[in-house]
């Protein structure tokens, strides 16, 4: 459970970082107070890109609008010609670019997850869209529509969620950012490199807290499960423990047996957990490739194993002590 949730967290962030890098911009400008992992509003004027293009070294700026959908999905409004100018545009696997106002394009993962084909009608944001193209994943977003249509549909005409900026020399990106920060006070302005580095567990405060809560719950649940399992195991083995005590088994020996068994169970459980993460990874990849991406986070293997072992050993203490304090004759008469 821990490994899967951590893997999904890492996978989601890395997927976002990869798509952001795929835009091909050098600088990202986001509204004041926005978080690194999501955008839920469009408070910036669509006149800002034109102003940014007047700045030294800036060769192009493109604004997009992001509309959150259900779950982890979101829809991005963009000007397809601007996007083409920024990075050459999408590589279409099927169909082609947005032409009509009701056209929608999606990446291969979303299309696979939703079993979509060209010409299908999708109802999103209370609007029917016609699928005109399926593009190679890894660029900007999974679902794209025309910017002005999405702005109108969501009541945000003339507003943007984020702006991508291209400069003439990528090595000057930081200097441009510094200059823009002075001019556009309060806006969150990053080089793309800086922004994608922020997309990590430790940098995203909310996610860090989320992971801590998940681990806490996993430890508590694991502790209770192991505690109950060991308690039951001791009860079921009351007679066996009585036999061991009758033939001269010391408390230390019995505790030793219990603890070794617990340790073995915890290690086997951890190993099984690791194997199962590959199962959940496969499942997500084939069932919901667009919504959930799970990475294999090797660094968490020893951490999760440690949590399992410590939880299991702590859970074995009480039934272990109960076992060694048990009266031999009572234990032998246990049915």
């Amino acid at each position: 459970m821990i490994l899967t949730l951590v893997g999904v967290s890492y996978g989601t962030l890395d997927g976002t970082a990869q798509r952001t890098r795929g835009v091909g911009a050098d600088i990202l400008l986001r509204p004041p107070g926005s978080s690194a992992i999501g955008l839920s509003s469009a408070p910036m004027s669509d006149k800002i890109p034109a102003l940014l293009m007047q700045e030294p070294h800036v060769t192009f700026a493109m604004g997009t609008m992001v509309q959150p959908l259900s779950g982890l999905d979101s829809m991005t409004g963009l000007d397809i010609e601007d996007f083409k100018r920024l990075n050459g545009g999408f590589h279409y696997l099927q169909g082609g670019p947005l032409v009509n106002d009701d056209d929608i394009i999606v990446d291969e993962y979303y299309a696979r997850q939703k079993h979509l084909k060209i010409g299908d009608v999708l109802n999103l944001v209370n609007h029917d869209w016609k699928l005109s193209g399926i593009y190679e994943g890894g660029k900007l977003a999974r679902i794209c529509v025309k910017l002005h249509v999405l702005q109108a549909l969501t009541g945000n005409p003339g507003h943007l969620s984020q702006i991508f900026v291209k400069v003439d020399d990528p090595s000057k990106a930081q200097a441009v950012v510094d200059a823009l920060r002075l001019k556009y006070h309060g806006y969150q302005i990053y080089t793309l490199e800086e922004f994608t580095s922020l997309l990590s567990i430790s940098s995203v405060g909310l996610l860090k807290s989320f992971i801590a809560v998940v681990i806490g719950v996993a430890v508590i649940v694991g502790f209770i499960v192991v505690f109950m399992a060991m308690y039951t195991a001791v009860l079921e083995r009351t007679r066996e423990i009585g036999i061991l005590k009758a033939v001269g088994g010391s408390s230390g020996l019995i505790l030793n047996i219990l603890f070794r068994e617990t340790l073995l169970l915890a290690l086997l459980g951890a190993a099984l957990g690791i194997v199962l993460t590959y199962g959940t990874q496969w499942l997500m990849k084939h069932a919901v490739p667009s919504s959930l991406v799970q990475e294999t986070v090797y660094g968490w293997w020893p951490i999760a194993t440690g949590i399992a072992v410590v939880g299991a050993l702590l859970g074995a203490i009480v039934p272990g002590m109960k076992a060694v304090q048990q009266d031999v004759t009572e234990a032998l008469s246990y049915e």
Partner: protein
Amino acid sequence: MNEAGIIEVEGLTKTYQVGDVAVHALRGVDLEIRRGEFVAIIGASGSGKSTLFHILGGLTPMTSGTVRINGRDLAGMTNAERTQLRKTTVGFVFQKYNLLPTLSAEDNIRIVQYIADRDTTFDPAFQEVLGLLGIADRLKHKPRALSGGQQQRVAIARGIVNSPAILLADEPTGNLDSENSAAVLKLMKDLNKRLGQTILMITHDAEAAAYADRLVKMKDGRIV
């Protein structure tokens, strides 16, 4: 008391507290068993024979009196000391065999060697005993694959593998049919004669008791 007494009991009492009621299971037992004897303690249910068995085996502490096993006084022994007694001096055979179900017959025997920090191989003399017990070809089997008689023979082998000073047997034929009972009792008699193994057997069966050298009768917590 005779100097050769391997079990010496004087004025032994045991009182259990059941709620507010004191149950006097043993009311002053005096008993001496000499090295190499095969003694049967016979009595009806509730006569106190099982309580005596538990005290002599170090499974339960006494209330008062003196009990010496192989020269060691059980009075005031701690749990750890009683554990040591069971490990080194006393072997047990129980009515319900009490074999560990997950271990093979062989491992059920070896585990008491392991517990006693002894070499877990069977020496030639013990191999001979296994032959005598008729279980040499059944050692790899788990208890569930053995008959009741075979399980009890494994339990006897386990009881004597560490060459204890005393083998305590509590109703060893209580779960066996008459044929197997006779076989097990003959084996115990044989072990007593051939190896000089001291055996104290608790039973309510007069036929089983007849295999012993001496009978001790108990009634109402006393030897009569």
